[in-house]
Symmetry: C2
Subunit: 316 residues, 2 copies
């Protein structure tokens, strides 16, 4: 069966997500027409996932639908923004209805969870790739950025780090992985609720897509400060790996989509409240200082050498 692009969009995507009442026109006209909330600012993020580069071409399509959206929602989470609308540009080598149905289902399930409406997109023929643009809204004085960290602020991370990288390594080596390990790689949960809870509290925030060292490095650079990290406090994968591998994964493994944020020590009590309210663990892993770059220390306070792999770089 052959479908043209209009049919594809109509059939799989037009009714995919629950309508929001701030959407005048969704899929079906030249543009989506959206009503921004008075007084709020708009947070917009775009990410592309390319087969063979960001995911294996034979990945479960439902997981892919989940993950491409999770990656983008994670950017909204990092700004403390509430998800609203998304557009989906899908480039497909062929029309495989079973694949599309599963992709759409994985995508829709996560969108529903965050009250996100699919409002437009484009379907083209070509090598498999997905570009999403998500829109969120946030009060101007509550938005989280990378540049507001202050000396003395605590450095915190959500969840566990290095789990996605560990699973990817295992899969690439042909090892068996548990369902839970696979989920860490293929179905990351964007920390939207944590980001919103951090509004007006965290001084800087970023999501960990390229590895803790790379992403904390962005906060340091933007805030013009140095980060001192106690590696014994960094939550690595729940695993029986040797300590060095575990730490390397936690410091440099990408694709976890946890949040890294800086937090004034005087509000420290709020961290536990936020962790309880959002049901996401939060670890304090260090402190911001005057200076630049990152220094890492072991449990006895000895400075350590930085692990070699500094996150995930395209073209490098």
């Amino acid at each position: 069966m052959s479908l043209n692009e209009f049919d594809i969009i109509q059939q799989y995507f037009s009714q995919l997500t629950r309508p929001r009442n701030d959407v005048i026109t969704g899929i079906g006209d030249d543009c989506a027409l959206l009503v921004p909330e008075a007084g709020k600012i708009l947070a917009v993020s775009t990410d592309t996932l390319v087969a063979g580069r960001h995911f294996l071409a034979d990945v479960d399509p439902a997981s892919l639908g989940h993950k491409c959206l999770a990656v983008n929602l994670s950017d909204l989470a990092a700004m403390g923004a509430e998800p609203c609308w998304v557009s989906l540009a899908l480039t497909l080598p062929e029309v495989d209805e079973n694949w599309l149905e599963n992709f759409a289902q994985g995508f829709a399930q996560l969108a529903e969870k965050h009250n996100l409406q699919l409002v437009g997109g484009d379907t083209t023929s070509g090598p498999l790739a997905i570009t999403l643009t998500v829109h969120g809204q946030v009060e101007a004085d509550a938005v989280l950025t990378r540049n507001g960290a202050r000396p003395g602020d605590l450095i915190c991370v959500t969840g566990r780090l290095g789990r996605a990288a560990l699973t990817l390594n295992q899969l690439l080596n042909g090892a068996a992985v548990t369902e839970k390990a696979r989920m860490a790689l293929e179905r990351p949960e964007p920390r939207v609720a944590v980001g919103i809870a951090l509004q007006g509290l965290a001084t800087a925030c970023i999501d960990i897509s390229d590895g803790l060292m790379a992403d904390l490095g962005h906060i340091c650079l933007a805030s013009k400060l140095k980060a001192l990290v106690d590696t014994s406090a960094v939550p690595g994968p729940e695993n029986t790996l040797d300590q060095e591998t575990r730490l390397d994964l936690a410091l440099t493994g990408g694709d976890d989509y946890e949040l890294c944020f800086t937090f004034p020590e005087k509000h420290k009590d709020r961290l536990l409240q936020i962790a309880q309210q959002t049901e996401v663990s939060i670890s304090v892993i260090g402190r911001m200082h005057e200076g630049q770059g990152i220094e890492i220390f072991d449990e006895s306070g000895q400075m350590m050498e930085m692990p070699a792999q500094q996150g995930y770089m395209h073209f490098s």
Copy 2:
């Protein structure tokens, strides 16, 4: 020389377009932060262009930079929206600095013309493809959609139709083309000023990306009306082709990015004013009636058969 994705974005794109004062954060954080204008609605459109499908891989990169943006601005034009912000997702097989510089220059030149700021994006490694998401703003009661045409309304088009398809055919056949003909295909001018001038006047509007018959068909479907078109009034390519080929190109050739709109006859005098003010020709080519579909007529009023090729369909 090898560049990582951060360098590429920084080097070629971060300072590419003039800053607007409604952009709090552009490129460089997890999301762009934008300030919507109070009371206006947001028009958002996404389009993907894939090498070998939407353009020849060896196309002049400056023309490609222009065209990918023109295609998206044309969607804003069709809604009568004023361009504001754009994000660019660029997938590249390799880092070719000369190519990037030229692409950026073609992109920036058109963006500047429409006061559009590049506010974010993503650079990934893979088969050459470009996805843009443009944002415009428009008063809620002035927006143009596809579904407002009324019986008796005049059907109008801007510019000339079929020029891009003619040039493409010639290039694919290895024929020489004039610079002007090449520009029609590679550097279409989005009709943003016409779209804005039509606010509150045109009853329905669409941009002609897939060919007049296909796109006017969308207005008919959305407005639940029939279009009667006088083919002798349809402005074809300025060329010495035989009449039938010329008409086929004008009716079914895609990629011209002119506007097709319906207009109340009582405001007919305004058409000339708009054409003069925007310096874009406008032709009245027919009239909307009760019914459905499109009927086409020759200069003597004889109904004609529809041309075979019905616009540009992916996967069909």
